[in-house]
Amino acid sequence: MQQTEVAAAPALRISGISKAYGPTRVLHDITFDIHRGRVHALVGENGAGKSTLVKVITGIVTEDAGAIEVNGRPAAFRTPTEARAGGVSAVYQDPKLLPHLDVAENIFVGNFPRTVFGTVNRKAMYAGARRVLQKLGVGLDPRSLVAALSVAELQFVEIARALSTDIQLLILDEPTSPLTPAEAEKLFGVVRALRAEGKSVLLITHRLEEVEAIADDITILRDGRHIATCAVRDLDRAGIVNLMVGRNIETMFARRDPVSPGPELLKVDRLGLAGAFADVSFSLRAGEIVGMAGLVGAGRSEIAQAIFGMTSPTAGRIVLKGREVTPEAPEQMLGLGVAYLPEDRDGQGLIMAETIAGNVTLPIASRLARFGLLDRRREHQIATEAIAAYRVRARGADQVVSTLSGGNRQKVAFARWLATSPTVLILDEPTHGVDVGSKAQIHQIIRDLAESGLAVLMISSDLPEILAMSDRILVVAEGRIVAEIEGRDATQEAIMRAATGSAEATHVLH
């Protein structure tokens, strides 16, 4: 890699950064440089470690090993405020703003310009805010209350906040997702201006066209490892995708035999939820496993949650076993035979303080009860059967769920939904955070379920898993289904290409 610019120390040097959460290693020995006056893209699929790396850089999370240098000087930030003082500022996907204060105050909070008397120098504050906003090309009144802004405007306020101090490195995490193309272009203008000033920008994005448009260098992470760092012009899009997913296709998960599906159980017709997804149509048939792939934030969970009644869709219809339904509440959809295993297993899928028996039988407790009294014995029995059937490693049905390992907790969550005898099962990242052994077991459980006549919709960011398990794969990008791929024809590259492509393309590959 030739450096054409004269650069002294790089703006950011990362050496050997490693981070593990318990037994799960999230970052393995990451090393690369971000040079001054360059826009550096950071890409990788879900779970590659990008967000964790950013958290390490900005001090939210402490690394287990490794060192960071900013402009040649070692930096060990322990809080975002320290990072900011050290010249590194980040803008995240979820705006962390104070809704009841105005724009200027949000930009300068923690850092108010003061007058001689110690009060806040409002004139200077509004002037400073106006200056920054002008640089961004955003026509926001610094006096307007943040609570009244749109999500796009919030994003710009965050960026303004980051730029309000003297920074060397600006980190942007998926900055263009709430922006229209015009607004995104405005943002790129700012990025270019920063580059011209000799500052550096680290851009995390999944939109490869953005990488091509604005980035100088690119770093690719995969499974927490550093794969490559090079100039953008040295790679083409296919090359990038290849590096993102290229792993030895492990035959750990055997491919599925083609299956002849039964009757249609669920039909989704042009379903839409304003701001989350639109024009979603697909159907599920008995005995099928349909995989739903896409990048984080593409809208897959939102689609599933709308079907399950957790949110109310604003457009389209849902037909369940031939009858149209209007999902209003999980209780209703459960009664109709739809079950949803949430992505946030511990937060939404289980009651952590409850026992296995309590968790497994919660949805069906009323079916088992007599005159409202719990039938403890039956519940215990059902739970014990489930433990045996799914080979949950536990001391018994009375063990509290929080003491189980991730994989076993997931099996308990499965057991719960299956106890409701569903006909349609929607799984959201079913093996996320689960050890390899349990993963294989869970896959077998899913296959058995499909075989027994259920229709399964499996949302997953684990490409090998999707390839191994799915009869068909729906790829979701930015709230739309952009591709439907037959299982036997699918490749990781094809999925990733569709997932990172633009939203306009909608095609079906055979």
């Binding site: 975002p80 009841h100 009060t119 209350l145 609570a147 009244a148 999500v151 796009a152 930015e478």
Partner: protein, 342 residues
């Protein structure tokens, strides 16, 4: 399609903006409406004499309501305000009884006593992370109990406050008690502090988004502690004023002021969820309560309707507050894909 959405979004946002800014305006409108109603039912309501009484009655409550507002802004609350008032009042009065030549330092004493009790509240809530309701419920009876013990079980202190104090409180300018002036000055100063000084802005920030405040390194514990200390100091001062006004100090002085101060603050547009509202609003809320009281008396309606109206008003005000919040959140939650989705 998307331009309509954008227009709707813009309209919704300006309503939200308006609603937030006009929290103060809401109280004013309500107050005017109320006055109009009472005036129609009994013209005696609108005489200068009567209005002066309304204002005077409201003045001390206005200060306590402002104190409550400061704590509410940080997303906490303080139900020990009455006990702090009583404690400060009794001990100051007792001190004055033993030192008849005491001057203005009596005020300092009362303020310090209140601040000390506020400090205890703040430590329990901010550092021990105890739920503010439970914590101040406990300290409410603790502080009241301290007062009893200090008074050795004596129900009424025989001491009188220094003459200068009693005289100052009784003094009238254009028929308006000096208490009104004092209340206006205090509330105005408090409002200025909250608006002008970084610490004041941080009080709003902590209540508006506690998580983000921690993220920005705002040292939320200190801010909350400060809020409680400030509230305590104000209550101490108010307690002394109240004692001076009624002339004798009993141990049960200011019992029940918790509900009134909360009612005033909530009516005045201070959100229980923090971050929103003003001390001026809280003070106006106190005027509203005083108005209702006064109006009911003039209309010969028994006093207990006051409790009922107070309680109902709190429920209503909270409902409005939540509705505004929901409207704002609804406006924010849309548009995740920046207009790319129809």
């Amino acid at each position: 399609m998307s331009s309509t959405n954008a227009a709707v979004g813009r309209a919704r946002r300006s309503i939200a903006d308006l609603a937030l800014r006009l929290r103060l305006g809401g109280v004013v409108v309500f107050l005017l409406l109320l006055s109009a109603v009472f005036a129609t039912l009994n013209p005696q309501f609108l005489t200068w004499q009567n209005l002066a009484v309304v204002a005077s009655n409201a003045s001390i409550l206005a200060i306590v309501a402002a104190a409550q507002a400061v704590v509410l802004l940080t997303r906490n609350l303080d139900v020990s305000v009455g006990s702090i008032m009583g404690f400060a009042a009794y001990l100051s009065a007792d001190y004055a009884a033993h030192h008849p030549t005491v001057g203005a330092e009596l005020v300092i004493i009362a303020i310090c006593l209140g601040a000390a009790l506020g400090l205890i509240n703040g430590l329990i809530v901010a550092y021990a992370k105890v739920s503010p309701l439970i914590a101040t419920l406990g300290t409410m009876s603790l502080y009241r109990g301290f007062t009893y013990i200090y008074a050795h079980g004596q129900e009424v202190t025989s001491s009188k406050l220094p003459h200068w104090m009693l005289a100052a409180v009784d003094f009238r300018i254009f028929g308006l008690s000096t208490l009104v002036i004092v209340a206006i000055v205090v509330v105005a100063a408090l409002g200025a502090f909250l608006r002008l000084f970084p610490l004041g802005r941080r009080i709003y920030a902590v209540g508006s988004n506690p998580v983000a405040s921690v993220f920005y390194g705002l040292r939320t514990e200190r801010v909350v502690l400060f809020a409680y200390v400030l509230a305590g100091a104000l209550c101490g001062f108010a307690g002394l004023l109240y004692a001076a006004r009624v002339g004798t100090v009993t141990v049960i002085l200011a019992t029940g002021w918790e509900l009134s101060s909360l009612a005033s603050a909530v009516l005045g547009g201070v959100s229980v969820a923090g971050g929103s509202g003003s001390v001026a609003g809280a003070a106006l809320g106190a005027v509203v309560l005083s108005c209702i009281d006064n109006g009911l008396v003039l209309l010969h309606i028994p006093e207990f309707w006051r409790m009922f109206v107070q309680g109902a008003a709190i429920v209503l005000a909270v409902a409005v507050d939540v509705a505004i919040g929901a409207q704002i959140r609804r406006g924010l939650r849309r548009q995740r894909f920046g207009g790319r989705l129809a």
